[in-house]
Homo-oligomer: 133 residues x 2
């Protein structure tokens, strides 16, 4: 790719915001979503006005977890990590890797529609990947 996207380039692309909002809004119980790189830098995020927590902080914490999952998968020769779901008392977080550098995360309420969120993320992943280059 001759012209790799800069963070300024990302800000100028409404596609990410729209796609993240669509995933949150179409998932019953959806709260917030983001695209982040493996160093914990958010590319774009979207949160509902009433989101009870900060999606960037969640992304940073679970991005570290994703790193330990990638190392474990390598050690187990289990192939590339593709998706992770983490359920705690107060929220469920779904993560889908976008290539080796980026990941997509969606936070939903514990009673939210986990399967729907997972489906929407899977469907959107190729579009994100194409834009991230």
């Amino acid at each position: 790719m001759a012209d790799p996207p800069s963070s300024l380039g990302f800000e100028a692309l409404p596609m990410f915001q729209d796609a993240l909002r669509e995933i949150v809004d179409r998932t019953e119980g959806g709260v917030a979503s983001l695209i982040m790189d493996s160093e914990g830098i958010a590319v774009e995020s979207y949160a509902r006005d009433d989101a009870p927590f900060d999606i960037t902080t969640i992304g940073i914490e679970f991005g570290v977890v994703l790193g330990s999952i990638k190392r474990a998968a390598e050690s187990l020769e289990a192939g590339q990590a593709r998706e992770v779901a983490i359920g705690t008392e107060k929220m469920t977080t779904l993560i889908r890797t976008l290539g080796e550098t980026y990941f997509l995360a969606l936070a939903i309420r514990p009673d939210g529609n986990f399967g729907k969120g997972r489906f929407l993320m899977r469907a959107a992943a190729p579009k994100f990947l194409a834009e991230l280059g």
Copy 2:
């Protein structure tokens, strides 16, 4: 509890083996399952004869991941970690915490019935917890 269960005590309890086998056999694509403590010591495990990987090694690797998830959840004030699903190219691993010390893990093939495994683990958890004391 006056008489904490020893590993010898566990070996004498057929309940764990039977329950682990039931979870594996009733989950389409189920390969192996185990109960492990937070230090990576397996309480009991069950694997199909044709299991392509060692469930104890998986438990140890993803037990470390579970530790990092617990720390992240604490930092995020997200409440206790309850369940984790990790999907890689070659397998999906479902983990359910059993109190603060133990966890239940189920490895299934990538095309296996994720939802069924999750349901069976959730249904079996109270029974395991009662035995683990």
